[in-house]
């Protein structure tokens, strides 16, 4: 009886201000706008990220003749193609770096981004039953292909080390120290773009068609086959708006001895990369509750 009066007396709109928050572990109610982020769920289900990633790694090259060889073949073939087209035919300036190394050092982080985004964008829509029948943080479905991509990244990096030995290029000490932050920026950019695209894809399946073009355009908007060091300063800042510019140029600086990217470019990239990450997270979080109804 006491209980009943408490409930009735509680204002309908007053969210967790009454005894409900104390009596229950979770209170489910319609949310509008931003809601409190449930980090607890991400922590509780952290093993699921591990298992989904592990599944993606296991399954990625199943029933392919070359298996994990594709992780190496993909950047190597792209490198060969770019070397012929842009290195030999178009003779793009590399500042003295052998073109194969110049292209490959950029392709390693670039393909991590491109493959991550392409796989993650459809990660929700290819798992409709999971989303309509089981509760878990959907973010992990999007993150798993990206984290799994780190394995491909590491394999491709091994080839890069071989190439550095072959060309006799020593990594700079400062650069190597900054490699991790650059990789981190690359990951944030990948996760940021993926959360946006995956969440949008649930509602608008057009994303599926847009992503390949987007990746294609970004490949040429990012200095993968060319370098921005010949570009005038104000334009360089414009390039900085694409966070992958700094990631790619940072890798090239650290591992292939290219000139360091401008501080302003990197600053711009970091702001945009972090912005993409935070906004993607927020958009994903805001739309996540409707995924099961829309998919």
């Amino acid at each position: 009886m006491d209980l009943r009066t408490t409930i009735d007396a509680a204002p309908r709109s007053g969210a967790a201000s009454d005894s409900w928050a104390a009596d229950f572990d979770i209170v489910l109610e319609p949310t509008t706008g931003l809601r409190a982020f449930r980090f607890g769920d991400l922590v509780r289900f952290r093993e699921l990220l591990y298992f989904l990633t592990w599944r993606d790694i296991k399954v990625r090259y199943k029933q392919t003749a070359l298996g994990a060889g594709w992780a190496i073949l993909q950047p190597v073939l792209a490198m060969l193609l770019f070397t012929v087209v842009f290195g030999r035919v178009a003779k793009i300036g590399t500042g003295g770096i052998p073109y194969p190394l110049f292209a490959y050092v950029a392709l390693v982080p670039w393909l991590f981004f491109a493959n991550g985004v392409q796989l993650s964008a459809t990660s929700l829509t290819i798992n409709p039953t999971l989303i309509t029948k089981v509760y878990f943080p959907r973010l992990y479905l999007v993150m798993a292909p990206i984290v799994a991509g780190l394995v491909d990244f590491a394999l491709a990096l091994l080839v890069l080390v071989g190439m550095m030995v072959w060309y006799g290029v020593l990594p700079s000490a400062a650069g190597t120290a900054l490699l991790l932050p650059f990789l981190l920026l690359g990951m944030m950019t990948t996760v940021g773009a993926s959360t946006w695209l995956a969440a949008l894809n649930v509602k608008y399946r057009d994303v599926r068609f847009v992503v390949p073009f987007l990746v294609q355009i970004l490949l040429f908007a990012t200095p993968v086959v060319y370098s921005t060091s010949s570009v005038h300063a104000p334009w360089q800042m414009l390039f900085g708006l694409n966070p992958m510019t700094s990631v790619v140029e940072g890798f090239r600086w650290a591992l292939a001895g290219a000139p360091a990217p401008h501080a302003s470019t990197v600053a711009f990239s970091t702001v945009v990369g972090v912005g993409l990450f935070v906004s993607g997270f927020r958009y994903f979080h805001r739309t996540e509750k409707d995924f099961a109804d829309l998919i």
């Binding site: 209980l3 409930i7 005894s19 409900w20 009596d23 229950f24 572990d25 979770i26 209170v27 489910l28 109610e29 319609p30 949310t31 509780r44 289900f45 093993e47 699921l48 591990y50 298992f51 989904l52 592990w54 599944r55 296991k58 399954v59 199943k62 029933q63 798992n127 409709p128 039953t129 999971l130 989303i131 309509t132 029948k133 089981v134 509760y135 878990f136 509602k203 608008y204 399946r205 057009d206 068609f209 509750k289 409707d290 099961a292 109804d293 998919i295």
Partner: protein, 423 residues
């Protein structure tokens, strides 16, 4: 005592907008229209107008309306109701798959939900790998899966195939493995939706035993099923949902009785008020009754007996009754004529204005059906009513084969047997 309440739902509601031309793959045109539409809606909402929806072809389905109840720790609650009554939506809200549009739910303790068995199984992974993957999808910590691994495998009886990809498993084996993982999920609150209708009879029985153990171990269980015997065996309390509202909440036997009575009322249709008839009207169909199950007190189900009874205003000699059944898309499925004799037919003893048609094993798949009835005498159409009755068929067994709602092609079940290569 407030402390023993583990679920409290207060006036929860859920609406779905059903788009007439909504397909899983929206086109660019739809998408752009959608974007513009949602802007319009948003603008409309700002000035306090109701959402218009796009092109005015959006239906709003109220799946749940002001549903209020609370569940104490250790209770086993059966949720019964017809298809579309809101049972699954309720479980989806409680398991946090979808959010309520209104009201709120408080939950205490870890929730494990079993709304479909085996979602998340990956065909390329081995049985062993899938146990871990599926377990973690269901929210089981890895350490717990490891500890329970042998029990799970033993329960599933997969034996030596544990390390082969599950795409090589028979479907029955996949289901057994999936259910075994779920059976060892040990949450404080377990939500189960109709998953026991899978697998062979022996396995179903073991699953039931396991469910009973879970319920007996003091855990809270919410169980959705159309199988009344199962609900009564497992639950102590029942909630009857109809059209998204709670119709009854009480002891399980009373709830089941309420539900069946409600169903019976819906299935005895008084036609005397119907004016949309054709024919000469010298003889009229006044009432249609649909009785299911051996004693007539059940729910129409695939493979179960079903009886149609037609009461006529009068019944001179040479009166013929015939009826047709259509599926929910309006396709004719079957036709029945009293004029064509069979040695199985019987004549009523004594005076009667009733035509009764009995089907021993209903071969219809689960779904909604409509019946048209016609009465003729002396080859003249006397009465004809379209949509004289509507009824719903639940999942069941046909020819000892479980036929669930995943059988979507066509609308009939046919008794058959397979010979398959050895496993």
């Amino acid at each position: 005592m407030a402390s023993s309440t583990v679920i409290r739902a207060e006036r929860i509601s859920k609406r779905f907008e059903i788009d007439d031309d909504h397909h899983s793959d929206a086109t660019l045109r739809d998408a752009l229209a959608g974007v513009v539409g949602s802007w319009k809606d948003r603008a409309g909402a700002l000035v306090g107008r109701e959402s218009s929806g796009r092109a005015g072809r959006v239906f709003v389905l109220e799946a749940l309306k002001d549903v209020t109840f609370s569940v104490d720790a250790g209770e086993a609650v059966g949720i019964v109701g017809r298809n579309g009554a809101g049972k699954s939506t309720l479980l989806k809200i409680l398991s946090r798959i979808t959010e309520p549009d209104g009201g709120r739910v408080g939950i205490k303790g870890r929730v494990g939900s079993l709304l479909e068995v085996g979602t998340g199984f990956h065909p390329e992974l081995t049985g062993r790998e899938n146990v871990f993957l599926y377990g973690s999808i269901l929210g089981m910590p890895r350490a717990e899966i490891k500890r329970r691994f042998d029990d799970i495998v033993e329960f599933a009886e997969v034996g030596r195939q544990l390390d082969t990809p599950i795409k090589r498993y028979s479907s029955g084996m996949q289901v057994r493995l999936a259910f075994s993982v779920a059976a060892y999920l040990e949450p404080d609150i377990l939500l189960v939706d109709e998953v026991l209708a899978v697998g062979d009879a022996a396995f179903q029985k073991r699953c039931l035993g396991r469910m009973g153990e879970v319920a007996g171990a003091g855990r809270t269980v919410l169980f959705v099923s159309h199988n009344m015997a199962l609900v009564q065996a497992l639950c102590t309390r029942g909630i009857v949902l109809d059209h998204g509202t709670v119709q009854f909440d009480g002891a399980i036997n009373d709830a089941v009785a309420y539900y069946l009575r409600d169903l019976e009322e819906a299935m005895a249709i008084d036609l005397s008020d119907r004016t949309d008839r054709r024919g000469r009207q010298e003889i009229k169909v006044t009432r249609v009754e649909i009785a299911a199950g051996p004693d007539g007190g059940g729910v129409p189900a695939t493979g179960a007996p079903l009886t149609f009874a037609f009461e006529l205003s009068s019944c001179p000699l040479s009166t013929i009754c015939r009826f047709k059944i259509h599926d929910e898309f309006g396709n004719a499925v079957a036709e029945f004529r009293s004029s064509v004799d069979s040695p199985d037919d019987r004549r009523a003893t004594g005076e009667s204005n009733r035509f009764v048609c009995t089907i021993d094993e209903l071969p219809l798949l689960s779904g909604r059906y409509r019946m048209d009835v016609e009465v003729l005498s002396g080859n003249r159409l006397q009465d004809s009513i379209e949509g004289a009755a509507r009824f719903e068929v639940e999942e069941g067994m046909y020819g000892r084969r479980p036929i669930d709602r995943s059988w979507r092609s066509g609308s009939v079940a046919i008794r058959h047997a397979w010979q398959t290569p050895t496993d």
